[in-house]
Amino acid sequence: MSNKTTINEIYENAPLEEVVFEVRFPGEPSVACNIDKFFETIRIKFNQVLVTIKAPDQLQIPELYRFESEDSKQGIIVGINKVAYFTKKYPGFKIFKDEALDVIQSFGKLFKLDKLNRTGLRYINIIPFTREETILPIRNYLNIEVNLPLISSSKFNSLNMAFVSKANEEGNITTQIRTILSQDKTREAILLDFDYSKDANLVINKVNNYLEESHGYTKELFENIITDEYKKFMRGEMV
């Protein structure tokens, strides 16, 4: 198990696929009417505009706007009750936090947000694995163990687990761990998905604190759930 001295380590082969920070607020219709004003503040960096429409052949207001960078690796998602910043090329927490807060605070100022319903920080990790004969050798990758009479995680062929747990006094964490197969069937992976959320007594001007708290807990969980063996691989210590 790792100790706190490794919590800030940056890994060469980190399995992190995508990170999203989202805030939800009481429905604000002015978002739908003034989305262009928000777009003007982010246009330089996020000039690709995509919309989510349920019935493409009908005239309607988009449910969600998605503004992406040219390479589609970063973006912002906006609805009348939510705004989120995501990235698929995580630059480390400090830079991610600065970018996310820049978006959220700028949005919050424009639409005069105050109270929030929810904040969520989600880390999606994808860990490619190789089977040992037919078995999913989960203990090579994750420090999890399931022992039932006659059934052990050392004999799993595949796995799908999801649970919500209290993280601490203030937050909840939704964890998903399951096996997935790529579309072209060349690789299998373990999806390790953490979603730290808060939903009580939230205000926009404390978003920085909420993000720090969410990250701190999730990072520690990640460091402790990944095995030392797999960390070698993440550090590039491999053939």
Binding site: T130, S158, L181, E229, Y230
Partner: protein, 136 residues
Amino acid sequence: MNTSIIENYNADLADRLASTPLHYQCSGLSAVTTMDNIGGNWAYRPAPIFTIPVDARKLLMKKPISVKVSREDDLFFAENETLRLYGSGSTHLEAIEDFCKHLMYFFEHYKNTPDSKLMGESLKLKELYKDLFLEE
């Protein structure tokens, strides 16, 4: 091993998760998760091999071996450039299995060949193979 077996494992799990006994409903997870519509192709990353099965044993690697799996037409390949090895097969699992067979062949080959019978690149490869396993 046929990939359809893996797809069956996942389909069985999905079926169980979707099915709830009569007169009950799924309480399940809290419905609210952060940005549910995340998705898209996941970036390619190699997978590690930690052990090699040999007869009834498992040989542990000192360092994991990185394996890149790809597909060309109807053949799958599992490769490691440092060791100059590739395995091939009709599924990604067969390709990895084939890769492991070649790995063991070359391990034995270099173990049993004295330095006096090697030159150039083969000496470098012998050094790589010498340190592969934790125990035999």
